[in-house]
């Protein structure tokens, strides 16, 4: 049933009960097919956008817009992809983004300027990730429950800090980063951060021991442990990583919206999970790609963009989003069972 020939070290066997009848042997080939099909979907969307609204859609400003809007959730999704590949889940990402963005925009933090805001956002994110990681790895809590608890408390804490108020950022250097003048060769700084996180994420997942261990833990934690991987520590690091991504995303969101609000990051957990799954990451762990997840984010953002440009309303957008998730997962199952 299992063929130990793959980038994950030999021990990273797939156990049938956690997924379909798959083996790592075909993982590469299938990942390629999947990535190609995602690119196909994106191309189809671009075609639709180009036909319905040629002037507005096929425009440099629109490309900048879509990528900028995708950058916040994109960074979160990269972290989420790692966690899901390891067989875990992080439901607290939206709440962590909210808490980090709120903590980093209090009057007290803003006195420390750009560095203070950036530092606070990242540290709060990492701190929440640390709590998640310790509870899950060493406290033996199920990831679903531990991160659900974090979701509730981080949101509550964020509300306590803001008291329901919108905290407007008044630090010019932070605000300027979101303006057109800050674009580097036409690329918004937020998009550059998103790109950097994506590239680093891809390298870590595909070119480091850390990445291989992540896949191994997700494929079969017991086998990974027997093979000498410190599964607990690996899990701790993974939730730390997700928290770090949330911290970075929170900073991007502060730059983008010029404010901190406890409602920030609403339902990010679902958006990130959906993007990762569309990108071919298995919810049960052991398989997934950064490229796929990022494509998933871009597909969602492009849909939102096309719908907005065509003045279609929220209801239609939501229906389409749901339909696309179903379609993507169905296609995934088909490819999984036929290859």
């Amino acid at each position: 049933m299992t063929q130990p020939v793959s980038p994950p070290r030999g021990s990273a066997d797939k156990v049938p009960q956690v997924s379909e009848k798959t083996g790592p042997r075909v993982a590469f080939a299938r990942a390629d097919v999947r990535t190609l099909s995602l690119l196909g979907v994106l191309a189809a969307l671009i075609l639709i956008g180009g036909i319905t609204k040629p002037d507005e859609f096929l425009d440099t400003r629109n490309l900048q817009l879509v990528l900028t809007q995708a950058s916040v959730i994109g960074v979160v999704t990269v972290g989420m992809t790692f966690v899901i590949i390891s067989g875990g889940i992080d439901l607290s990402v939206g709440a962590i983004v909210a808490l980090a963005s709120v903590w980093a925009t209090t009057v007290a933090t803003q006195e420390y300027g750009f560095a203070g805001i950036l530092f606070t956002a990242v540290i709060v994110g990492v701190g929440c990730g640390l709590v998640n990681g310790v509870l899950i790895a060493y406290g033996g809590m199920v990831p679903f429950i531990a991160t659900l608890a974090m979701l509730a408390s981080a949101r509550g804490f964020a509300l306590q800090i803001t008291d329901g108020n919108t905290q407007v950022v008044t630090v010019p250097s932070v605000l300027d980063l979101g303006e057109r003048d800050a674009y580097v060769l036409g690329i918004p700084p937020l998009v550059l951060v998103f790109a950097a996180v994506t590239v680093i994420g891809w390298l870590v997942l595909n070119r480091t021991t850390f990445g291989r261990r992540t896949v191994a833990v997700g494929g079969n934690a017991e086998a990974a442990r027997l093979a000498g991987i410190d599964v607990r520590r690996q899990r701790l690091y993974l939730y730390l990583l997700s928290g770090l991504c949330c911290g970075i995303a929170a900073f991007l969101l502060i730059v983008l919206s010029g404010s901190g609000q406890n409602t920030n990051g609403n339902l990010y957990e679902l958006d990130a999970i959906a993007a990762a799954i569309i990108g071919g990451t298995l919810l049960s762990g052991g398989r997934g790609t950064i490229v796929g997840s990022v494509l998933g984010v871009l597909i969602f953002m492009t849909i939102t963009n096309i719908f907005a440009l065509n003045n279609l309303q929220t209801d239609v957008q939501q229906i389409a989003k749901g339909a696309i998730i179903v379609a993507a997962v169905l296609v995934q199952r088909r490819t999984a069972s036929t290859t």
């Binding site: 609204k53 002037d55 507005e56 425009d59 400003r61 629109n62 817009l65 900028t68 809007q69 509300l159 008291d163 329901g164 108020n165 919108t166 407007v168 979101g178 303006e179 057109r180 969101l253 983008l256 919206s257 010029g258 404010s259 609000q261 406890n262 409602t263 920030n264 990051g265 609403n266 939102t304 963009n305 907005a308 440009l309 065509n310 003045n311 309303q313 929220t314 209801d315």
Partner: protein, 348 residues
């Protein structure tokens, strides 16, 4: 003193002074705003003088954004102002089941009057009915119950009127143009109030045949969504003349998107009345020229009504011995001309 003098005084004096006082009560957060002028009334109307002790149970949704937070604050401050009022506040919740549980607890505690701002008006109708059957009068705040039997008095904002006034303001500003394009950034589409605001806005614009509404997108009252949706709208419409944004909270994000896109060819009208919006209108150096009120002070008025109910009195300034069964507040347009007057009511 003859009855005639008294009645005349009641008619002229209290109608004017009392209505003014009631209006002031609707627009101000300041506990110092005096309503005492109505105390010369001879009918048993509620005034500032301590009367029978009243315990008011207050159940609101989770104050997760500026306006709701201001509503809860208004209620609490108003209750503190009265020596004879004890306020039992439940922890705010957006979950229907939780809020039902909280209200049932208040019923069991046998509070004298309930003030309920439901997370979802329709879904909480049953518990409103239950309270009324238990003999506890309910003051329904803003989000209305399904059945009039579920409340003794409803007080709330005028969502349709808000859209109407926004539409008329924009219409008057643009009527000299041959053709004008208008864009709408709506609030959360799941809520009936958003539909009502849009309906009012559309109806008002029908009076101006030169104006066409070219685009509408719905955000969800958060800064983040305001930025995201506005950025899309700006990309979709390379040029337009006016924008109505339903909510000043999401307006912070919308203004950010406008700034990021470097656009300033249109005039913007906001909604609700946040402090930030008032300040921007006063400074008058951006696109935001006006905002349409949805006053959070309605919660303070709801406490006044609940107290009057508990003490069995009417409203100062009105002839009736009882409080009205429904009160719809006016959505005034605040622009540079009158912003000073409203500045103190702005919420953060």
């Amino acid at each position: 003193m003859s009855q005639f003098t008294s009645r005349r005084r009641m008619l002229f004096g209290t109608a004017a002074v009392g209505a003014g006082a009631l209006l002031a009560g609707c627009t101000s957060n300041e506990p110092s705003d005096e309503e005492s002028a109505s105390s010369q009334n001879e009918q048993p109307a509620a005034d500032d003088k301590p009367g029978k002790q009243v315990t008011i149970g207050y159940a609101g949704p989770q104050a997760d954004h500026g306006w709701l937070n201001a509503v809860n604050l208004n209620a609490k401050n108003r209750a503190e102002k009265y020596e004879d009022v004890t306020l039992e506040v439940t922890e705010g919740s957006n979950d229907t089941a939780t809020q039902i549980g909280q209200i049932e607890t208040l019923i069991n505690k046998k509070v004298d009057v309930l003030v309920i701002l439901p997370a979802d008006g329709k879904a909480l109708t049953q518990v409103g009915l239950k309270a009324m059957r238990a003999g506890i009068p309910v003051v329904n705040l803003d989000r209305i119950f399904n059945s009039p039997q579920a409340y003794r008095c409803w007080i709330g904002g005028d969502n349709y009127g808000m859209g109407l006034n926004a539409g008329h303001y924009i219409g008057e500003k643009l009527k000299h143009k041959k053709t004008a394009r208008v864009v709408e950034l709506a609030g959360l589409d799941n809520l009936p109030l958003t539909k009502e605001r849009t309906q009012g806005f559309d109806d008002a614009l029908k009076n101006y045949p030169n104006i066409e509404k070219v685009a509408r997108q719905a955000a969800d009252f958060t800064v983040e969504s305001g930025q995201a949706k506005m950025a899309q709208l700006l990309q979709a419409q390379s040029e337009f003349d006016a924008l109505w944004n339903h909510d000043d909270d999401q307006g912070v994000g919308a203004l950010r998107a406008i700034e990021q896109a470097g656009r300033d060819e249109f005039l913007m009208v906001g909604g609700a009345g946040s402090l930030a919006a008032f300040q921007a209108i006063e400074q008058d150096n951006g696109v935001l020229k006006a905002t349409v009120l949805y006053p959070p002070s309605m919660a303070a008025s709801a406490i006044d009504l609940a107290r009057a109910l508990g003490q069995g009195k009417g409203v100062g300034g009105l002839a009736e011995f009882e409080i009205p069964s429904s009160l719809t507040l006016y959505s005034a347009v605040v622009d540079k001309e009158n912003v000073d007057q409203y500045m103190s009511t702005g919420f953060k």
